[in-house]
Each structure stands twice: as structure tokens, then as C-alpha cells.
């Protein structure tokens, strides 16, 4: 495995780590969601690159002959379409997650007045202490 032949993996890994780092290190909820999105995109890239077969063409039959006599040429190398199809679903999931996450951020902003993680925790603790006493 060398950098030259497997460079796409390094791109995926770089994106993945960037995304994860943002999710963990940032305190801002919106930024966390951005990181999460980058993380998910990296996985989509992983799948898409996975389906590529070296020297392969788009997975649509190359036909030989004309009209009704046309038959697919089975000697042509095709890329694997399955991972791409799977990613359609993953993209939908990603968008749904993002939408739900942003909706939650809106509600958090409304009720706490902030989207910073540490401020929210602080407010929660203050509330807890007032209940305790």
C-alpha cells in the first residue's frame, strides 16, 4: 500500500480525522454538527472510491449492435455500482441527521439562550443545585 496507489484512502482518513476532531474539540453546537457532517462525508467518499474498479467505466451496459439486436458487451470492465447506490441512502440519512441536529440547536438556543456546550452544562448544574437545596 503506497501513497501513490492508495491516495484516496489518505484523503478519506484526513477528512475523517478532521471531522471527528471538530466534533470532539469544539464547544459550539453548530460547529460540532459541521464536524459531524465532514465525518459523514468522508465515509461516503470511502464507499464511492471503493466501487471504482481500475480501468472500469460507468456501470451502464456498453451495447453492441443496433436497435432490437443490441446486446451488452460483457468484456467491458465496469465499476461496481452497489457502493454508490448504498451511499444514496447514507446521504439521505446524513441530511436527516443534520436537519434534526440543527432543529435541536434551534430549540437549545431558544431555551438556554446559547449554543455553547460549556455554558449549557453550567446552566444545567446551577439548575440542579437549586433543586437540590
Amino acid at each position: 500500500m503506497t501513497l501513490a496507489t492508495h491516495w484516496h484512502y489518505w484523503v478519506v482518513i484526513a477528512l475523517m480525522m478532521t471531522g471527528l476532531h471538530i466534533v470532539i474539540a469544539r464547544r459550539n453546537y453548530v460547529k460540532k454538527l459541521m464536524g459531524l457532517s465532514i465525518f459523514q462525508v468522508s465515509v461516503i467518499m470511502l464507499y464511492v472510491t471503493m466501487g471504482k474498479v481500475a480501468g472500469g467505466t460507468a456501470p451502464v451496459y456498453v451495447m453492441e449492435g443496433e436497435g432490437h439486436d443490441a446486446v451488452p458487451n460483457l468484456d467491458v470492465v465496469y465499476s461496481n455500482p452497489v457502493p454508490h447506490v448504498l451511499m444514496l441512502t447514507a446521504i439521505v440519512v446524513g441530511i436527516a441527521t443534520m436537519a434534526l441536529g440543527l432543529a435541536l440547536v434551534v430549540r437549545i438556543k431558544e431555551s438556554y439562550g446559547t449554543v455553547e456546550d460549556d455554558v449549557v452544562i453550567e446552566k444545567d448544574r446551577a439548575e440542579e443545585e437549586s433543586l437540590e437545596s
Partner: protein, 512 residues
């Protein structure tokens, strides 16, 4: 009727999945509730029907979605284990809806209730689909369906903390789900198939070719899947999201989630380790059980239970107790033996019923005294005698006192530990049960030894007690007459452990 019965595996998922959008359209909350309950009940009936069907068969039932044969088409697999899980999950879901009557009306904002029911059923559909599908990518899709609806259910709690809890859950849950997705992708890359049984075969072949050298991609795929599932299962130390989510969700949702979500994920963990990668490989060559899962399980057992002692509210206490109980589940798996998996399945059932029942009791308490803070429970033994008694019953079930389901599963766990010569572990299991005595008795003392407040009024929510008593009654019944369920779990574990090679290989071809 038999024609309909043949389609039970898919109906199990389709019924709640199609009812959910219908509920979102019906804005009438009474109708929505009735319809949701009806749908969940129908699902439960189907679930138990599948158990019966699976019991009649030696090999797992296979259902080809849309008539496409596997491995190209998506296959639903009704094994003894999946049917068992599905039946428990669907029954608890129905009881959770039954519970939700007055509670939900109070806790969920007016005008959102039909959406609450829709999300609930979506979550149910996702969980059931995850348990029953035989397609690896399908697992991910259903995982996300259930997760996304869970996040919104948690956010419907009546305090603002529900939002932050749901958000945290969303972040961690998505990371977990995506990890699973990466694992499945890598697995696909190695094997070229998504069918569970097919994957198992090919992984087996790879391992047979070079038993000593680990296939690195396979190993990475394994790690990603385990970490992802571990996050969703709340295996220590990946449990941070769980207490917040369980504590802030509406009471009915806590009951539902506690009894179902982690249980289905646990079943996935069983499949991943035992079926996908092969028990012999995972627990033999990789030593995943003894070197990774066992220490983490034991740590989880103790830390979860000890943390439960110090929680200010009942829900948080029960949530941390769940972290501890997940430790027992994974510990059972970590032996890597059939007996262990049997114990795991038994504990899955026992804990699902007990914990869901306890959360139902908490719902009744919240309805009665308006809070689940432990300091507000003084004199509950006098104010709500049946509720307090039910809590004690559930509590002794958590401890594993004989006569409750918790004892049966703990016994199986001990036997599994002894069978694989882990004497010390058996001692630790019992020691951690003693920690459970402490947190349960802390509540008992408050309920029975502190004088009830003079001026406060208690309202009685008898309807909430119906599901609670059904669940806790089931726990006692199973504790006293366990043989049917024990046998079922034994058969289920045996079926999971059948070498993939001993099943007829599927016709190959298809994926790239």
C-alpha cells in the same frame, strides 16, 4: 391466513413503518393514539407468531424481500434469536404505548402528540428491522431510522435539558452509526457481499486460508463495528450519552428505550462477533473476549452500579443501573461460548422486562408526586402502597433475588463463567449484585422509613400501573417457571453458533 403468515417477517417491519407517516398526517391525538396502540399490538402479535414459527424450524426462516433471492436480494432472517428479540421488543413497545396515556398528555407538548406517536412507531420499526434483517447495509439503515426517531423522542421531554441530552445523544449516536457504516463498508470490500450469511461464509474462508495471519482490513472492519455498536449499546466507557437520554426523555420513552434499544444493539453485537467474524476467530485468535470485552464489562458492572447509588433522581439511577446491566450482557458474550450467549440472551429478556417495568413505575410515581427526585419520595410506601411495592419488586429483580427473572439470567451467567473456568469473574458478578442491593435499598428506605409530607396531595395513575404490573408480573413468572424461555435461549444460542460452513453455502455471484 397461512398466506398472510408467510409474510409475517416483512409485516413486522411494514406495519409500524407505514402507520407512522399516517399518524403524522392524522392530527387528532385520540385517533393517533388508538391507531398507534393497535399497530404496536399487531406488531407484538406478529412478533410472537414469528417465535412460534422459528421454534418449528431447525434452520432459520428466510424471507426474500420482493421475491429476490439472496445474496442479491435483501433477506430477512427469522432465527430463534432474532425472533426472541423481536417478540420482546414489540411487546414492550406495545406496553410502553399503553403506559403513555396520561403521562404523554402531560409531558409532550399539546399539538405534537401525533408526531410523538409517529416517532415512536418509526423507532419501533427501525429496531425490529435491525433485528430481523439479514442484510448488513440494511442494519445500518434501520439503525439510523431508530436512532433518528429516538433523538426526537428524547427531545420531547418536558425540561429544556431534554434538548441538550438529545443533542449529545445525536452526536455520539451518529458517530457510532457511522462507525458501523465504515465497518460494513470495509467488510464489503473484503467479501464483496452484504448478505449476513454470505459474509460469514467468506470471512470463514479467508480465515481458513490463513488462520495465523490476520487479514488487516477484516480486523479494522471488526474494530470499527465493535466501537460503533459499543457506543450505541453504552458499553463502558462509551456510555456517557445514556444517563442523560434516559433521564430526560418522557417517562414512556424511557421505559420503551430501556427495554428495547440497547437490547437490539446487543443482538447486533452477538451477530457481529459470533456470526460475521466467527466466534472461533474473535474469541480464539483475537482474544477479544477475555482481553477486551471482559475487563470493560466488569468495569461497567461496577462503575455503573456504583454511580447509580449517588444519583439524585430515580430515572438517572435506573439509567446508570442500565450501564451496569449492559456490563452483564457483554460479560456473558465475552466468554465466547454457547452457554455465555445463552446467558446473554436470557439477561437481555430479563433486564428488558424488569427495567421497562421499573420505568413504568417511575412514570406512575411522577404522575403521583410530580417528580422523580429521590428526596421527594418520602413515605411513598404509605402514600402509594402498590406503586412502592411494585418498585421493590422490580428492584429485587435487578438485584437478582430468586423468584425473579434476574435470578435466572444471573444463574445462567454464573454457570457460563464456571464452565469457562472464570471463577473470579463469577465472584465479581455476585459482588456487583450487592452494589445493586445498595442502590435499591436506598430507595426503599426513603419510601418506607421517612414520614410522608403532611400537606402534599398525591394523584393516583392507575393506568400507568397496568403495564408496570404486567411487566413485573412477567418477570416473576419467568423467574418461577423459566424452563420454556431457558430452552428457547439455549436453542437460539446454539443456532447462532452453528458454523457458517455447516450451513449450505448460498449461490454466489452478484455483487462486484
Amino acid at each position: 391466513m397461512s398466506g398472510l403468515k408467510a409474510h409475517f417477517p416483512v409485516l413486522l417491519v411494514v406495519v409500524p413503518l407505514l402507520t407512522a407517516p399516517l399518524l403524522a398526517l392524522i392530527r387528532q391525538k385520540q385517533v393517533a393514539r388508538a391507531l398507534a396502540l393497535l399497530s404496536a399490538l399487531a406488531t407484538a402479535v406478529i412478533g410472537w407468531g414469528l417465535v412460534i414459527a422459528a421454534r418449528e424450524q431447525v434452520e432459520p426462516l428466510s424471507y426474500h424481500l420482493g421475491g429476490w433471492p439472496p445474496p442479491i436480494g435483501i433477506e430477512y432472517v427469522v432465527s430463534q434469536a432474532s425472533a426472541f428479540v423481536v417478540a420482546i421488543v414489540s411487546s414492550i413497545a406495545a406496553l410502553g404505548l399503553l403506559l403513555g396515556t396520561r403521562e404523554t398528555r402531560k409531558e409532550v407538548t399539546e399539538g405534537q402528540q401525533h408526531l410523538y406517536y409517529a416517532a415512536y412507531l418509526l423507532c419501533l420499526a427501525g429496531l425490529l428491522g435491525m433485528a430481523i434483517t439479514g442484510d448488513a447495509f440494511n442494519v445500518f439503515v434501520f439503525l439510523e431510522i431508530s436512532s433518528l426517531s429516538t433523538y426526537s423522542l428524547v427531545a420531547m421531554g418536558n425540561r429544556r435539558r431534554a434538548f441538550s441530552a438529545a443533542f449529545n445523544y445525536l452526536i455520539l449516536g451518529t458517530i457510532g452509526g457511522t462507525f458501523v457504516l465504515i465497518g460494513i463498508g470495509l467488510l464489503y470490500q473484503v467479501t464483496g457481499t452484504l448478505n449476513v450469511q454470505d459474509i460469514a461464509h467468506r470471512v470463514q474462508e479467508l480465515e481458513d486460508v490463513a488462520p495465523d495471519s490476520h487479514n488487516l482490513t477484516l480486523l479494522v472492519a471488526f474494530v470499527f463495528m465493535i466501537v460503533g455498536l459499543g457506543l450505541k449499546l453504552a458499553v463502558f466507557p462509551l456510555h456517557q450519552w445514556l444517563p442523560g437520554a434516559y433521564a430526560e426523555a418522557p417517562a414512556a420513552v424511557s421505559a420503551f428505550l430501556a427495554g428495547t434499544a440497547t437490547k437490539v444493539i446487543y443482538f447486533q453485537l452477538l451477530r457481529t462477533t459470533v456470526v460475521f467474524f466467527g466466534a472461533a476467530h474473535v474469541f480464539g485468535a483475537l482474544r477479544f473476549g477475555t482481553h477486551v470485552l471482559m475487563p470493560l464489562s466488569i468495569a461497567g458492572m461496577f462503575i455503573g452500579s456504583i454511580a447509580a447509588i449517588y444519583q439524585p433522581t430515580l430515572k438517572r439511577m435506573l439509567a446508570y443501573s442500565s450501564v451496569g446491566q449492559v456490563g452483564y450482557l457483554t460479560l456473558a458474550l465475552s466468554f465466547g461460548t454457547e452457554a455465555g450467549v445463552q446467558a446473554g440472551l436470557l439477561h437481555l429478556g430479563a433486564h428488558a422486562v424488569t427495567k421497562a417495568g421499573l420505568f413504568c413505575v417511575v412514570a406512575a410515581i411522577v404522575a403521583g408526586v410530580g417528580s422523580n427526585r429521590i428526596q421527594r419520595l418520602n413515605g411513598l410506601g404509605k402514600r402509594m402502597p402498590i406503586v412502592a411495592f411494585a418498585f421493590v419488586l422490580g428492584g429485587v429483580g435487578l438485584i437478582g433475588v430468586p423468584g425473579t427473572s434476574g435470578f435466572v439470567s444471573k444463574w445462567a451467567l454464573l454457570q457460563a463463567a464456571f464452565a469457562s473456568e472464570h471463577y473470579l469473574v463469577a465472584g465479581l458478578v455476585l459482588l456487583s449484585s450487592l452494589v445493586a442491593v445498595v442502590y435499591v435499598w436506598r430507595i426503599v428506605e426513603v419510601m418506607y422509613f421517612q414520614a410522608p409530607p403532611v400537606d402534599e396531595k398525591t394523584t393516583h395513575d392507575n393506568l400507568a400501573m397496568v403495564p408496570a404490573l404486567i411487566l413485573l408480573g412477567a418477570s416473576v413468572l419467568f423467574g418461577l417457571f423459566p424452563d420454556q424461555v431457558v430452552e428457547l435461549a439455549a436453542d437460539a444460542a446454539h443456532q447462532l453458533f452453528l458454523e457458517p460452513g455447516s450451513l449450505p453455502p448460498l449461490p454466489t455471484g452478484g455483487h462486484g
